[in-house]
């Protein structure tokens, strides 16, 4: 026994030392390119230490996890929503729900600052903020019969908290869906191969839905494998489509055309029965997602590529071409999902708490799954930084910044100290089967090129680089379109719930006039922002991604307010720093970012400054619309910040009241019931 303890201490000392050395190398190394394995080792050690020590400290000292307390999955088990489930199964389920395109796209965009800022934020943010948020919200929801974040905010903070959480969720969904759609548009514009492949996934999903319904009811894994094979055929067929003049003409689409098609698709996906399109696409996307993430991880470890991006670039001063703004606060809102994402709190208070068998498992599921998500973000940083910086900037910079022609773009980027030639870019575009890779903003194409670079070196060589590139594009677009389907539906239900209080039939989710009206409303909302992004001369991502980052991190602020309030009410105020510290950091980041986005005098950063610059410049047909859009973005940001400030004030009043003894410190937990489960399942 004593021997085991000594060995354990020794192992953890080695992990700590190794982690310190790896983080040190990543942070200090400057002279020449660094190997990606340093990032992998640093991340692995940080996650291991965070999980073993920090999450255990939170579990023991603050949350006092109780293995004897029956969870809602046991007490309310109904075989549908509430169900005692093996902890590894819940872990997989939770991870599949939280892992979206965010941890892939955000780190790629933030790589314009160099590999260091993103890496440090992903590691520290996950260990001290993101994992903590997911863990504590999951446990608090488990102790409240699986209640949602908005319900907990209403009960623990007050009506203001509930209203703001609800509004923030709707706002985030609208902006998220617009950004997601914009990323797909940018990845597919003028790309007949990619467009053909993604277009084919729609009939494949419909076929899967019909197969499940009519031929082999319930055999989802079987049909997912079949769907995956068909998708691989579609990728292969895309090459043929891109080389056939007639087909290439049909599938070479401009950004506005793609935007209209995606808006129509979003409406159809929201209004059609779930089993026909949404569910099969969800299965297919999850199947591809889990497989690809695993494959990418293996590829990085096996190949351990060299990162060509420097640790820090000149763009930390805020003049970056990918998006404008200094490293603080913009790196911290650009990378959300890999470090901390408010959206996760919806999942931690959604399906997952209804499946947990024991309170003690919330640590592994909540904290543990977020470390896995963060590891995906580290992979994305690596995929972006294996590219030559000149290539990275040529792909990710909008034409409005670097110039309209290949010669102008390469000259501008080379003048920044990142040499690249038009011939290099043409050769790369040819290798991946595209006509051009210039101005492919949004992060997805750069990630796809990086991923294809890694995959092609491990499997198949340069001859199959085009197939890997389009596999990566398909993977991301499929991923993102699933978010569009699911997000539009979720928002539609939320609006129907709210409208049901005004006029009852509007709340009925099976009443077609309500379905069509609310679907149209939500699609029009994100479609408007998408259209704004497509028409933006700076590429759209410059405006919309920060707006999404701000909205997402503001939701995390609300979640951490709820968590801190509950911790204070549990008489654990002396440990409240565990949530208060990330909360303070997020308030500093989001409020500063919002201030810049609204009021910064630089037209590339501030919405109002851009509106003024447009008004002062030459007037075109689109000027009035662009001015209005910038003012609208400023108004949306301001409204969100004011609402979250109200939640902060309300939460602060609760904390002070409880600490002074003038407010009731009782938490709204479900009463304790002793578990009847004989032993821990799983």
């Amino acid at each position: 026994m004593e021997m085991n303890k000594t060995l354990s201490v020794l192992v953890w000392i080695i992990v700590a030392l190794l982690g310190a050395v790896a983080v040190g190398v990543v942070a200090i190394h400057r002279a020449e390119p660094i190997n990606a394995m340093w990032l992998v080792v640093a991340a692995t050690c940080c996650y291991a230490l965070g999980y073993r020590f920090y999450s255990k400290f939170i579990a023991a000292k603050i949350l006092a996890l109780d293995a004897l307390r029956a969870t809602p999955a046991e007490r309310l088990e109904n075989g549908r929503d509430f169900l005692v489930t093996n902890k590894w199964v819940v872990f997989g389920h939770h991870f599949a729900a939280i892992a979206g395109p965010g941890p892939l796209v955000g780190p790629v965009l933030a790589a314009q600052f160099g590999y260091l800022p993103g890496t440090l934020w992903v590691l520290a943010g996950a260990v001290f903020a993101g994992c903590v948020q997911d863990f504590v919200i999951l446990l608090f929801s488990v102790r409240r019969d699986g209640k949602s974040l908005t319900e907990m905010a209403k009960e623990e903070i007050g009506r203001v908290g509930g209203f703001v959480a609800y509004t923030a969720v709707i706002a985030i969904l609208v902006i998220l869906l617009a950004v997601a759609a914009l990323i797909v548009v940018n990845a597919l514009k003028d790309s007949p191969w990619g467009t053909f492949t993604i277009a084919m996934t729609i009939p494949i999903a419909l076929l899967m839905g019909l197969y499940l319904r009519r031929i082999r009811p319930g055999k989802v894994l079987e049909v997912s494998v079949l769907g995956f094979i068909l998708v691989l055929l579609a990728i292969w067929g895309g090459q043929w489509a891109s080389q056939n003049p007639a087909m290439a003409h049909v599938f070479t689409l401009t950004a506005p055309t793609l935007a209209i098609l995606i808006i129509v698709y979003g409406f159809a996906a929201s209004a059609l029965p779930v089993w026909l399109l949404l569910a099969p696409r969800d299965y297919l996307s999850t199947f591809v997602k889990l497989g690809t993430i695993g494959l990418l991880g293996i590829g990085i470890v096996a190949l351990h590529p060299t990162l060509h991006m420097p640790a820090l670039t000149r763009f930390i001063d805020g003049s970056g071409p990918v998006f404008a703004g200094k490293i603080f606060p913009f790196a911290f809102i650009t990378i959300a999902c890999g470090a901390i994402s408010g959206f996760h709190s919806l999942i931690s208070s959604g399906t997952t708490p209804k499946l947990i068998a024991r309170e003690t498992q919330t640590r592994m599921v909540g904290y543990g799954a977020m470390t896995a998500e963060s590891a995906v973000a580290v992979m994305a940083i690596i995929a972006a930084c294996v590219l030559q910086p000149g290539v990275y900037f040529a792909i990710n910079s909008p034409a409005g910044i670097v110039g309209q022609t290949a010669a102008a773009a390469t000259a501008t980027i080379s003048s920044w100290g990142f040499p690249v030639t038009a011939a290099d870019m043409q050769a790369l575009a040819h290798a991946v089967g595209e006509q051009t890779l210039f101005n492919r903003t949004g992060g997805a194409p750069a990630f796809a090129v990086g991923m294809a670079h890694i995959f092609s070196q491990s499997l198949g060589g340069a001859t199959v680089m085009a197939l890997w590139y389009h596999f990566a594009v398909m993977f991301e677009a499929l991923f993102i379109l699933t978010i569009l389907d699911a997000g539009t539906r979720v928002a539609r239900f939320m609006i129907q719930d709210a409208l049901g209080h005004i006029y009852k039939p509007l709340g009925r989710t099976s009443w077609y006039p309500s379905i069509l009206a609310t679907s149209a409303l939500i699609v029009a909302a994100w479609g408007y922002f998408l259209w704004q992004g497509v028409k933006d001369p700076l590429g759209g991502i410059n405006s919309l991604w920060p707006l999404f980052g701000i909205a997402n991190q503001l939701l995390a602020t609300v979640a951490l307010c709820v968590a801190t309030t509950i911790i204070v009410k549990m008489h654990r105020a002396r440990y409240a720093a565990v949530t208060l510290f990330p909360l303070t950091w997020l308030v500093a980041v989001t409020f500063t970012a919002s201030w810049h986005k609204v009021l910064d005098p630089n037209p590339r950063i501030g919405f109002l400054a851009q509106a003024r610059a447009l008004a002062a410049g030459p007037s075109t047909g689109a000027t009035a619309r662009l001015i209005f859009n910038n003012r609208l973005d400023a108004a949306v940001t301001t409204v969100l910040v004011v609402m979250v400030a109200l939640v902060l004030i309300e939460s602060g009043r609760q904390w002070l009241g409880v600490l002074r003894g003038s407010k009731d410190a009782r938490v709204k937990e479900a009463p304790f019931v002793m578990t009847q489960l004989a032993e821990e399942r799983g």
């Binding site: 319930g218 029965p273 779930v274 959300a336 959206f343 978010i483 979720v490 239900f493 997402n552």
Partner: protein
């Protein structure tokens, strides 16, 4: 060796159970159990009638 095989079996079984849960196969099996229906087109349609709202409300992160 047998311990290794046993561990591999447990790992595979857990992986399969996870996939079955993520892909709703387990939910369908529970539905059939609960309603005492054999698997059929009608049973799957009934399963989706019950599940549609819950599935569509399930948030998926960015």
């Amino acid at each position: 060796m047998s311990r290794l095989v046993k561990s591999a079996r447990i790992l595979l079984a857990t992986l399969l159970a996870t996939l079955r849960e993520i892909f709703d196969e387990a939910a369908y099996a529970r539905f059939l159990d609960r309603t005492h229906m054999p698997s059929s087109q009608a049973a799957y349609a009934a399963f989706w009638r019950e599940r549609e709202s819950a599935h569509a409300r399930r948030p998926k992160c960015c």
